[in-house]
């Protein structure tokens, strides 16, 4: 009985690492994030999945002007968006984490930072993780209950 209980505790301890979610955003208290209306998403060089386009699309869906690419930052944008994605493998490949930053176009200074981290058992599609991160950064509230990008 004691051995079974110990075994169960060990299994639970090991599995607990498989279901961790972190959704976090913070912004420079001296910057009014609500004043940002136009964004340029700069492609993360190692990204081969076109996530810069996903981020730009999600920003547009949230009501902002957004474009993306690898070229120079267009004149007049309020913020440059940079990101870094991390992936892991558990039966299938999945996005473990995405970090998104809003930067001052002139100085490259980070004015806001968002992070979504989901381990294997709570994995979600990149579109979902990107949208929940942007919502957190822009104060747009939680993901809608009927969000179609859940898997």
């Amino acid at each position: 009985m004691k051995t079974k209980l110990m075994g169960l505790l060990v299994v639970l301890a090991l599995l607990s690492g498989c279901s961790k979610t972190v959704l976090k955003a913070d912004s420079d208290p001296n910057v009014d994030i609500a004043s940002l209306q136009s964004f340029y998403v700069k492609k993360f060089e190692p990204d081969r999945r076109g996530l810069e386009q996903v981020i730009a699309t999600k920003l547009e869906e949230l009501g902002y002007q957004a474009s993306s690419g690898t070229g120079p930052v267009p004149a007049g944008v309020d913020a440059v968006v940079t990101y870094a994605d991390h992936w892991a493998w558990d039966i299938t490949n999945y996005m473990l984490e995405i970090n998104i930053q809003f930067r001052n176009p002139q100085t490259d200074y980070v004015i806001s930072n968002g992070n979504s981290y989901r381990t294997s058992l709570v994995r979600k599609a990149p579109e979902f993780m990107i949208e929940e991160t942007l919502r957190e950064m822009l104060g747009k509230g939680p993901m809608p209950a009927n969000s179609g990008a859940g898997k």
């Binding site: 961790k20 972190v22 913070d26 001296n30 473990l96 970090n99 200074y109 980070v110 989901r118 381990t119």
Partner: protein
């Protein structure tokens, strides 16, 4: 048999958690300021972390990395130097990139001595960062407790502006390698220092 099992268990629990080192020194800080004309600053960073001052942890301690069952291991600086030395190097380089001439104070900060250094180098400002807390705690997620105080004085030691950043929260998910955790923490440091410098009064004073 039991001895082998215990040794194996210890090895598994320690895993990648033991002996981790984070590189704060070589990470550029994202600063919102640019020097206008020739500006000379004296920079000093003071370690006021209570667990370092009371000798519980060494000056190069930066936080904890937890093993399989939450067992903690100390994380130290990659350089082996104190955390405040690494922070000073990082901030100095970033201020230089922003156009300032920086005199990094090599000794324990003391205002009368800082005023002397400022006078000897024709510096117009003294920038003093007090690190009251900076400790990461990494298991499945990354926790960070921090308490930073930045003050800008003129060459005569009169306070011109100050700003603080403090908190204790989860700042991300634990990474698969020590080098990724190191990078994440260096970025977190860069961001917090940037926020400190972006206060209007600090920017005006510099």
């Amino acid at each position: 048999m039991w001895r082998t099992a215990i040794v194996l268990m210890c090895a598994v629990l320690a895993g990648c958690a033991a002996g981790n080192r984070y590189n704060y020194r070589d990470h550029a800080v994202s600063l919102p300021i640019r020097a206008e004309g020739q500006r000379i600053l004296v920079l000093t960073v003071e370690d006021l972390r209570p667990y370092v001052l009371n000798g519980d942890k060494p000056a190069n301690f930066v936080g904890l990395q937890r093993g399989g069952f939450g067992n903690p291991f100390d994380v130290t600086t990659a350089s082996g130097q104190s955390l405040t030395q690494d922070m000073k190097a990082s901030i100095s380089n970033s201020l230089r990139n922003a156009g300032y001439t920086v005199i990094a104070n090599p000794t324990e900060p003391d205002m009368s001595q800082l005023k002397q250094v400022a006078a000897q180098n024709d510096a117009s400002r003294i920038v003093w960062l007090k690190v009251k807390d900076w400790k990461s705690d990494i298991y499945v997620s990354i926790g960070l407790s921090y308490d930073l105080h930045l003050a800008v004085y003129n060459a005569q030691g009169i306070l011109l502006a100050e700003n603080t950043q403090q908190g204790d929260s989860t700042v991300g998910g634990g990474k698969l390698s020590a080098s990724q955790n190191s990078e994440h923490m260096a970025q977190e440091f860069s961001k917090r220092i940037g926020y400190l410098f972006n206060s209007p009064s600090i920017r005006d004073a510099l």
